[in-house]
Amino acid sequence: MKKIISASEAIALGVKLCNPKVVSIYPITPQTMIPERIADFVYDGEFDAELVNVESEHSALSVCLGAQATGVRTFIATASQGLELMHEILFVVSGMRLPVVMAIANRALSAPISIWNDHQDSISARDSGWMQFYVETPQEALDTVIMAYKIAEDHKILTPAMVCLDGYTLSHVYEPVDIPSQKQVDSFLPKYTPKYKLDPKKPLTMGPIAPPNIYMEIKKEQHAAMNSALPLIKKANSDFKKIIGRKYGDGLIEGYKTKDADFAIIAMGTICGTIRTVVDEFRKKGKSVGLIKLKTFRPFPEERLKKELDNLKGVAVIDRDISVGQEGAVFTEVKSIADIPVHSFIAGLGGRDVRPKHIRTIFKKIEWAKKTKKEWLL
């Protein structure tokens, strides 16, 4: 069934189809429409979940942690300052290996105060042990929520996941979205079966103290589990294609006209739509350029991206984030694996529009870039 809806509503519909039992709610711009729509479904009697209104994001994620520990699927959404207030609990959820799924309507961080889009909030949670998927369209937002549950809950993975959608430029964008049937989703996503759960009849301890003699082993296992998600993300993507009929690249990376390209831009999120338009424009002029859309940022698809870079002469990375005092986060990863010049552009911070003219400038610059360099696209 097709409907014209926003990405926020698409996320809410995706969540409803996955049927979590607990959703904790705390409002923050620009994610508020997601829990609002979920609440509509619950109070209209279409969706049987317990909504928990809390007093802060720190509590919001703590509610999901506790609920998930009792053995049910949960959902939460936030943005910007809200994600920062959750920061402490992010590590607890991932360390306890609870596969919570969270939507983030990406927004800049204060100060100065900005309610507009960039990736600084989720990028700042890069090392928290959560998987991160960046989406481009309302359709991809819906589909990725369903895939995120499937990947996160796999007993070999047991790692929480963030579905990151650009605030406003995606969260509030209306497009026709094909909504899968409950039957389709049920055949893709199995019923949630926790590996461990809190049960008074069978007591166990979760999140105990780990002395120095075991802490590292536990962290190493967590790291290995997240890395072993890479093939599973690809599999979830191809299974989704088989059952529901759509896929996004290989689930990790979506290349656009990269097979015969000399130069390409690497980017995440909605900006990829603009880049595609400019790629087509340059292709008409006979320039062999392409786009590498990085969908999965954590776990980082190192090998896969390396293969993609092998055919190129140069690459540009657009970061909508900045590690103040160094560089963009995606650029850091790319330069660590690239044998070709990598040109870093910090762009679109705090909701600054990145227009086709900016992308044209980037393509012109990487064509003659002989060495790795960094600049800001103001």
Binding site: R97, L98, Y196, L204, T205, P208, E217, I218, E221, Q222
Partner: protein
Amino acid sequence: MKEGAVIDKPGSSIRNKTGGWRAMRPIIDQKKCIKCGTCWLQCPAVAIYLKKGKITVDYDYCKGCGICAYECPAKAIKMIKEEK
């Protein structure tokens, strides 16, 4: 190791003898003890018992915090260095 260091068999806190952390050891003077139970009530490690009419410290779990000695109204408990 279980995912997230889950301990799926209860009783691990009994196996973990935390008395080894102790630097100061409480010694009860049974002649001064009035058996009021204040130390038993205050012990945060639940390591003080009334056994056969005598207040007894379980040194397997007593961490030597000294609260019992501080709270004892009869001044019947003194803390001595573990090395002695």
